[in-house]
């Protein structure tokens, strides 16, 4: 009980600190802090449509959060979720445009496999470089991000892909075999908001990843690699392979953003569709402390803040969307003091004979 409750409590404190500092800034800007909170709350959860949009963000943030978290368990800092999700989305669009007339069932299967494979491949490059050539994953994933966006920028200009109906940098619309949004009951429920049934993936993934990391041999090997590579190697595990596997899984998770985007939202690849989901995923993973089961709520929280940010611009005179970013940043910073906080609480509890039963 203590094991779960304590981190939960200190996370709650970090959150409170973020909101508190946000409120102080709001107060300095001559705005009522409670009004600000109310705006964010209403914007994120105010209507079915708003909730749907929040869920759309939460979907992408959770997936990139998984991506960062899984890599982190192997001791790798995956900055590359952004490139991985861009690659995956682009590839799904390209494959979908190449084979337009398949059955919707096959279309979905193709989309899933292409999305996961493309993301995994893109992350796998960094994994291989790290494991077998010692190339630092932070550098290589940043480079791969840049390569991915440059590659997308070029491919998008090709006449076979380019959407000529408008001036946006995007691919043509995929056929209804892939773009299954119309048949999605969840889309109707959320009043045609950007979300779709793909949101269910993240709940499934939370359980799958938790079981994989904490209950299987390979998952254990990955975590042992992250904890102590030398000991893992001496114990007969294969840390190099585990790093590659971790990156492959991380990439596949980030790649699944493509499902919500292409199959569930726009039916095409729009250059720059992601407001840097990959980087926000790092914050989500931090907030969730890399625990897969904690990632969906963490992602939901950040999604509310991200969604609410726009309405701050509309509803207030002096506050802009940047306040939401400040709150996010303070929350992440506060997280870094939470181990210290937990220790203090634990010491306090010991001194006051709390939790003696445990």
């Amino acid at each position: 009980m203590k094991k779960i409750l304590l981190p939960l409590f200190s996370t709650f404190i970090s959150l409170l600190m973020g909101l508190l500092l946000g409120s102080v800034i709001a107060a300095f800007a001559d705005e009522n802090p409670l009004h600000i909170l109310q705006i964010i709350w209403n914007s994120g959860l105010g209507s079915k449509y708003d909730l749907g949009t929040t869920l759309y963000y939460a979907n992408a943030l959770a997936l990139t959060g998984y991506s960062v978290a899984v890599a982190f368990h192997a001791g790798l800092f995956n900055i590359g979720a952004e490139g991985q999700l861009n690659m995956a989305t682009l590839m799904v669009a390209i494959v979908g445009l190449t084979f337009p007339s398949v059955s919707p069932f096959l279309g979905i299967i193709i989309s899933f496999s292409v999305a996961m494979m493309a993301g995994a491949l893109w992350a796998g490059i960094a994994g291989l470089l790290k494991a077998y050539r010692g190339g630092h994953e932070v550098i290589s994933t940043i480079m791969l991000n840049i390569i991915a966006s440059a590659l997308a920028s070029w491919l998008i200009t090709l006449p076979v892909l380019r959407n000529t109906e408008n001036q946006n940098p995007e691919t043509r619309q995929l056929s209804l075999s892939y773009f299954v949004r119309g048949a999605d009951p969840l889309v109707k429920f959320f009043m045609d908001s950007p979300t779709s049934s793909s949101i269910l993936i993240i709940f499934l993934l939370a359980i799958l990843l938790w079981a994989f990391l904490f209950r299987t041999r390979t998952g254990f090997a990955i975590r042992a690699t992250g904890q102590n590579e030398v000991a893992a190697e001496l114990a007969g595990l294969n840390p190099k392979l585990m790093k590659v596997i971790a990156m492959l899984i991380a990439g596949a998770c980030a790649g699944l953003v493509a499902i919500g985007e292409v199959n569930g939202h726009t039916g095409k690849f729009l250059l720059g569709f992601s407001p840097e989901f990959g980087f926000m995923g790092i914050a989500v993973a931090l907030l969730a402390r890399n625990q897969p089961l904690a990632i969906p709520p963490a992602a939901f929280l950040f999604a509310i803040l991200h969604k609410g940010a726009g309405d701050l611009d509309i509803e207030t005179k002096n506050i802009t969307r940047d306040l939401a970013v400040v709150i996010q940043a303070v929350v992440v910073l506060s997280i870094s003091i939470s181990p210290w906080l937990e220790e203090k609480i634990l010491a306090f509890m010991v001194n006051h004979k709390w939790g003696a039963k445990e």
Partner: protein
């Protein structure tokens, strides 16, 4: 025991929070509602791009001052958020929502039918609808004019074009510019560069500066920048090399006095002001409006910062070309009708 304590603390916190929130909501709802409310959604360049978005913002703030309307603006830093913001405005029953730039096309297409009582205006792209007005500009005509002026001022017979995002709209600028320059000297070389292919190209002064410097070093002596906020990179480059630049959309002559030959005015400010005025007086008209040289929706800027370039002779020449275009004597090639 302690769990109960924690939970009760949490609940009391939430209760206070929500009760305050409700009280506030009640307060805001009862606020008086007199003037029309206008929501302005700017492109990625943001209101300080000194160009396209600045012009739109200027028009809107002018309307705010003149008509006493309620204005709110948002900068779209995230493509996925455009639709959400547009809905946000519409849901809050704004009277008029203005989308600046073609990136808003899909959002207007999707949101406008859902909110028939809200009026939508869209700059630079056409969307049909009973509550939508599309505001288009004849950019190629103005580009032809500044192209001619550039050729007149080029000693090396080499002029440059710096486009923002590689899209048909900017190709329209480019084509008019080329034709204008060639009308003065058929053998003149026109060097063309684009900053990028996605919407970040509107706001990448660093790359724009690199491209401009490369052009200037290769002998180009006038560059026409049609790149939104990226134009700031062009202006940095022109200051370093002391050559000439041409601004776009807003009057940018003041940015580097004496180094900006002129600015091709695309009076987004006028268009925005007009549409707000019409809506305010209940005369909003759906459909497409085209602004060109005739109605001064498109023009070139002459003021104290660049008057030294406009000798009597030059002014006369330019005025003649302008009148010829309006009269249809000069046919400016249009990329859209290619």
């Amino acid at each position: 025991m302690k769990n109960k304590f924690l939970i009760s603390v949490l609940w009391s916190f939430l209760f206070t929070l929500s009760s305050f929130a409700f009280a506030l909501q009640a307060a805001t709802n009862s606020a008086a509602k007199v003037p029309i409310r206008v929501g302005l959604i700017l492109d990625k360049g943001g209101k300080d791009d000194k160009s396209f978005n600045s012009a739109a913002y200027l028009g809107a703030t002018l309307a705010e001052k003149e008509l006493g309307i309620q204005l709110k603006y948002i900068e779209a830093t995230d493509d996925a958020a455009i639709e959400t913001m547009m809905r946000s405005f519409a849901q809050k029953k704004y009277d008029l929502v203005i989308g600046i730039g073609f990136a808003m096309t899909d959002a207007v297409k999707k949101v406008s039918p859902l909110f028939p009582e809200v009026k939508f205006a869209l700059i630079d792209a056409e969307v049909p609808g009973a509550n939508v007005t599309s505001l288009l500009f004849e950019e190629h005509q103005g580009s032809y004019l500044v192209g001619a002026l550039a050729a007149m001022n080029s000693k090396n017979k080499k002029v440059g074009f710096l486009g923002g995002m590689d899209v048909p709209l900017i190709h329209r600028f480019q084509m008019g510019y080329e034709a204008g320059a060639k009308s003065i000297d058929p053998k003149i070389a026109v060097i063309i560069n684009y900053v990028g292919v996605d919407s970040s190209a509107w706001n990448n002064p660093a790359k724009a500066k690199e491209l401009s410097l490369t052009q200037y070093r290769s002998g180009v002596d006038v560059i026409f920048g049609a790149a939104g906020a990226s134009n700031n990179g062009l202006f940095d480059a022109v200051e370093e090399t002391k050559k000439l630049a041409i601004g776009v959309d807003s009057n940018q002559n003041w940015v580097k006095p004496g180094l900006v030959l002129t600015s091709m005015l695309k009076r987004v400010d006028v268009a925005v002001l007009e549409v707000i005025k019409e809506t305010n007086s209940g005369k909003f008209k759906a459909g497409t409006v085209r602004f060109g040289l005739k109605d001064k929706g498109i023009d070139y800027a002459v003021d104290q910062y660049n008057s030294k370039f406009f000798t009597a002779e030059t002014s006369k020449k330019m005025e003649k070309i302008k009148q010829d275009i309006i009269a249809g004597k000069i046919k400016v090639p249009d990329y859209y009708k290619k």
